[in-house]
Amino acid sequence: MRIAMTLFAASAMTLAACDTQTSDAAAPTSEAAKDAAGDKTIASGLTAEDSKFADAAKASGLDATLAGPGPYTVLVPVNAAFDKLPAGQADTLMKPESRAQLTKVLTGHILPGEILAADIGKAIDIGKGKASLATFGGGTITATKDGDNIVLTDSAGGKASISGSDERRSNGVVHHVDAILIPG
């Protein structure tokens, strides 16, 4: 069951990582970080709840990216997010002739490096209420807070909330989002 993420929870989950940025407190070593991430890659760590995203990644050929060295931060739309698309659109995206468009949509959910929810929250605070995140889709998405939640907004104004965050993988980190973001 997916647990709604709160900034408070995210902060607690990533306390050690945050400390490394602000104090001399015991920091995770490289080996410790590796252990915490486990052996699963982003691709192999996708579950049945991510099946539609996994199918889309495979259809676009990006499953190889998600199994590669990374590191990436991936915003994985939950299955229900695909259901929010207008009728027939998800099926259209999965057709072979739509691969270029599908690739563009999916790369808009992949970010360079490893970004924790707490990192986004901190950037939002520093940015006086918003932070911009570069994606491999070519543009940026804007992160804001709505109460304790982090909301991501694409260039067209579409919004997605992070519904589960900071899932560590050997080649990056996964956050789940409740809607599909559309690259500009």
């Binding site: 691969r99 270029a100 950037a123 994606t135």
Partner: protein
């Protein structure tokens, strides 16, 4: 959303081919069908006081412009750009053994083979007849914001279709001879004893030192727009760009095999089926966003250093650290200038 639907409906459809799940060719080095000699590690990058531009290719993120180290001083640069991004001359040195990268400052230095790199590209190219050309350099426009309508298409940069193939085997155009590749790509493609790289018209040209002829062309961020220009699974990879051009930092992961070739293009490393020549997978995404001497672009406000490196590279009042394309960069928080490649992690 309706905009997206319309765009989707109107999108040009890609050539289709069966998607074949294949194991990745990791750790192969440049073996099998590799067309380029493995380049030596530790190549040094020449910096310079480039007048770099903010080209209009990407809507919201900064673009590398003309990276010619001497262009601004010669008055031949494109004149556009971000004055704040200028900094002192820098030479990046990658120390052997520990992947640690340090900065040296100065007018230039010798690379592993005694060739002077950095400011004095006259010496750098002293064995090349591009020297005379460089002296007459007059500058050129920036990125694909200067592409004529209709030429800003996928897989050809600003070049008319078929033009890239024509350039292969020819001498470098005069106005590109003095144009170093954008800062963001200098760790990807390093000059060595066999080749040097120059930039122009949205392409990186690999020039053979043995005959001063172009033997490889790498299109950068094609005119259809970064992210919009990815080759899709099943697309035929253009033969004009088909040489081993995997960025240096990823070569240990993606070496050619008898079954697959790996090629960089349009923001990604593609796995190409050797038999059919079609894109079989997208094995890595590259942003091409950060480079020493440039300003931290929009979209990198958030700390993104991989976990395993956070104990070493934690943001502070004096330094920020950001990850991009296999490297961790050090950033001055006050100026947002990227001051160093501090570590190579892939």
């Amino acid at each position: 959303m309706s905009k997206f639907l319309l765009a989707l409906g109107a999108a040009a459809l890609a050539i289709t081919a069966p998607a074949i799940a294949q194991p990745e060719g990791k750790g192969g080095g440049n073996k099998g069908g590799g067309q380029q000699k493995a380049e030596r590690g530790g190549g040094n990058q020449g910096g310079g006081n480039a007048g770099r531009g903010n080209g209009g290719g990407r809507e919201t993120r900064g673009n590398p412009g003309n990276g010619g180290g001497q262009m601004a001083r010669q008055g031949g640069g494109n004149g556009r750009g971000n004055d704040q991004a200028r900094g002192p001359d820098r030479v990046i040195e990658k120390a052997r053994g520990n992947n640690r990268v340090d900065i040296a400052r100065g007018k230039g230095r010798n690379d592993d083979n005694g060739r002077i790199v950095g400011d004095d590209r006259r010496d750098f190219d002293r064995d090349s007849n591009v020297l005379a050309i460089a002296r007459n350099f007059g500058g050129f426009g920036g990125r694909y914001d200067n592409c004529p309508p209709g030429l800003a298409k996928k897989d050809n940069g600003c070049m008319p279709p078929g033009q890239a193939r024509k350039y292969l085997g020819s001498r470098l155009q005069q106005n590109y001879a003095n144009s170093l590749i954008p800062y963001q790509y200098r760790s990807w493609y390093r000059d060595n004893d066999d080749y040097f790289y120059r930039y122009g018209d949205n392409n990186i040209y690999r020039v053979s030192r043995s005959n001063n002829l172009i033997d490889g062309i790498i299109p950068l961020l094609s005119g259809s727009g970064y992210g919009g220009g990815y080759y899709a699974l099943g697309d035929q990879f253009p033969s004009s760009y088909d040489f081993y051009n995997v960025p240096y930092q990823y070569r240990s992961f993606y070496g050619d095999t008898s079954d697959y070739r790996y090629r960089y293009g349009d923001g990604a490393i593609y796995r190409i089926n050797s038999g059919s020549g079609v894109v079989d997978g997208i094995v890595a995404l590259l942003a091409g966003d950060l480079g020493v001497g440039t300003r931290l672009p929009v979209g990198y406000d958030t700390y993104n250093v991989p976990f395993a490196y956070r104990d070493r590279y934690a943001d502070s009042a004096d330094n920020w650290y950001r990850y991009n394309d296999g490297y961790i960069y050090q950033v001055d928080p006050k100026t947002r200038l990227i001051s160093a490649v501090i570590d190579a992690i892939v």
